[in-house]
């Protein structure tokens, strides 16, 4: 084990996968000479050269599409999109090509490709640079979606993503890049498996599912709930949304009889909306209260600091929503 930042863990994963397989290459805007807008690709150009680490023009749709084409012809591209908002320019290639190619051509080719992108608010970047769109990608059959929260998961899941035969939307969080955590070192770091949730904290009273960085908000709220309200929360980080480890979540809800989902994205059609539907379908008889949701505000992300913070979920929101599930009905 070594302690490192989330961004360093990602960098290690990229490095190890570039070393392991000649067919793996990285491309994206400013990932080479500039070493990445968030420095995730630090040093890779120098170590692997221009063939493997490719700066691209600012052409999101074509970068992603070129990745799909290259993957169809046997390569294993990793495409970095600078910020999740910019991935909207590539939605055509992500949905109409990456996600559909295997299916629409009857399985004759696959698209083993990773599309990495950071999301999230908190840096006052306003409405075009701060959103959380995991719900958009979760929506699309044919894609896998990873939302790692810890440095170890960032590394293990990225390695698994590169080795997977399916197109993977790999969603990082801008607010996590600097966070430190223990990460298995090169050699003993086997790739993780998609579809395995992590139980971050055990508890019998309520299940809190936190998505992406909100898994940390959920964990913080759980401490407050224990300290101040004698409520022991079980905190689950699904880590991947497709495939989804629904079994672990449902098992937990059957034990705690209460569920609250925390995400940073918008409420309508969100991850929580979807998960709440699944939970009530799978564990209705076990629920003692309606499934609660904590989400980002239903607005574009404002710039002004107090407004931006008001628009984002915080532990207080989670605590309040959990307490509401204990109201006498």
């Amino acid at each position: 084990m070594a302690e490192m930042r989330y961004r360093e863990a990602l960098n290690q994963a990229l490095r190890e996968e570039l070393e392991a397989d000649e067919n793996v290459f990285i491309m994206g805007e400013d990932i080479g000479v500039f070493q990445g807008a968030f420095k995730v690709t630090d040093g890779l150009l120098e170590d692997f050269g221009e063939k493997r680490v490719r700066d691209t023009p600012i052409s999101e749709n074509t970068i992603v599409g070129a990745g799909v084409g290259a993957a169809m012809a046997g390569l294993r591209p990793i495409v970095e999109i600078m910020t999740i908002n910019f991935s909207l320019l590539a939605l055509d290639q992500i949905i109409n090509a990456a996600a559909s190619v295997r299916y629409m051509f009857g399985g004759q080719v696959g698209v083993p490709m990773v599309i990495r992108m950071p999301q999230g608010g908190g840096h006052q970047l306003g409405p075009t640079h701060s959103h959380c769109f995991e719900a958009i990608y979760l929506h699309i059959p044919g894609l896998l979606v990873a939302v790692p929260t810890t440095a170890a998961d960032a590394k293990g899941l990225l390695k698994a993503a590169v080795r997977d035969e399916n197109p993977v939307i790999f969603i990082e969080h801008e607010g996590l890049y600097g966070k430190k955590g223990d990460v298995p070192e090169n050699g003993d770091a086997s790739p993780m498996r998609f579809g395995e949730a992590a139980i971050r904290r055990e508890g019998d009273d309520v299940t809190i599912v936190g998505i992406s960085r909100q898994a940390l908000t959920a964990a913080e709220a759980a401490e407050t709930l224990a300290d101040e309200h004698e409520i022991e929360a079980e905190v689950i980080d699904p880590r991947t949304l497709r495939p989804l480890d629904l079994d672990t979540i449902v098992e937990s809800v059957k034990k705690t009889n209460r569920a609250v989902i925390v995400e940073e994205g918008w409420p309508h059609g969100g991850v929580g909306a979807n998960l709440a539907a699944l939970i009530q379908e799978q564990a209705f008889d076990h629920l003692d209260a309606p499934v609660g949701r904590v989400t980002g505000a239903d607005t574009p992300m404002p710039y002004s600091k107090p407004l931006e913070q008001a628009a984002m979920p915080h532990p207080e929101h989670v605590v309040k929503t959990v307490l509401s599930t204990f109201r006498d009905l």
Binding site: G65, A66, G69, A70, Q108, P141
Partner: protein, 437 residues
Amino acid sequence: MAEAKAEEQQQQGEADGSDGASAPAEEDRSPEERLPVDPGEHHELPDREHCEEILRKMLLIRRFEERAGEMYTKAQIGGFLHLAIGEEAAIVGATLAMRESDYLISTYREHGQALARGTDPKRVMAELFGRQDGVSKGHGGSMHLFDIEKRFMGGYGIVGGNLPLAVGLGLAADYQETDDAVVCMLGDGAINQGNFGESLNLAALWRLPVVFLVINNQFGMGTAIERASAITDLSKRGDGFGVPGARCNGMDVLDVKDELENALRKAREDRQPQIVEAVTYRFRGHSMADPEEYRSKEEVEEWQRRDPITTFGDRVKHEEVVSQDDIDGFDEDAKSTVEEAVEFATNSPFPELDALYDDLYSYSGEEPGWYVVDERAPETHKGEELKTSSSDAMRELAEAGAAYAKVGDAEERRKRPDPEEGEEQSSGPRDEEGGAH
């Protein structure tokens, strides 16, 4: 022949002089003045064997398309059906210039491309019929044919959507240090997509072996090229991106082949992507649902006089390389190949309902999670479980849904109506529901 050539050349001269902004208004131009076909260069006929191959391929495409159109009106084919009748020279000329290991990627008007690359006509027709033996197992349909063995990398229903993929194929060819090249076909309409500039720039920047072949049939649906493009000489549209271009006569199979050979050589050897514009014309509507109110009958007839199959046939006969009897024989062969394809498609079963979730994901090892969650049934289930452990309720619902296909229950679906006896269905209501694109 020679006279016709001279006349065309003269028209071309006029067109050159009146290009771009100074072009006369559309209504001032006679049908033959509307983008007159570039006569291209004069090419010697190849030997008999090659002439035969060319004729056979063009005839196969023509007969396949005609029969597909009929099958559509008999409701054996659904959705949209885009025929390439009139464009055979562009398709066959281009594919003859390619090596077997080169990649071809196309648009939704691509039955002919698959056939020209050597895909089994039976499996192409079966795909149009939505049957299990279709090239894409009924998941793709007319717009999404694919044949990995022939390196036919697909038809795509999104206009311009194949361009970035072509760049990726070129990147792979380059990365793997092969000398494979890519031919990417697009329409005159697709050229105005943002993808076009992005893809040409990236291909030129990375020196990728890609030839962008614009099949300029002069319309994007009902929009004539001069109503969509400020610069109508599409071979020039790569200039600002570092992609040199050339124009060829898309009605002359030898001219297309020659131009593509040049372009492929430059792309392959000089690592310099190219654009080639083949000026052609589609004789049928954009799709089967097109009443063709945007062009005159005279214009269509004018272009039909340049029919790529007849003109090439006339020439081989005139130069006594192939006789009319030979051509009749090739035509008969093409027709019977297409007949066999129709029969095969008719007898191929519809996909099993379990195939609904097939080929969506590649599952490695034991499946840990819920890749696909189907929430439509009382019991939410993993989509991939329909095959292995679906409940009776799920199966019943799947059957109930499939019944709306109006091809009976599972038993009846296996024995379908004989298309020859099938009623002529007016394509009207179907098209209104589905729109026309």
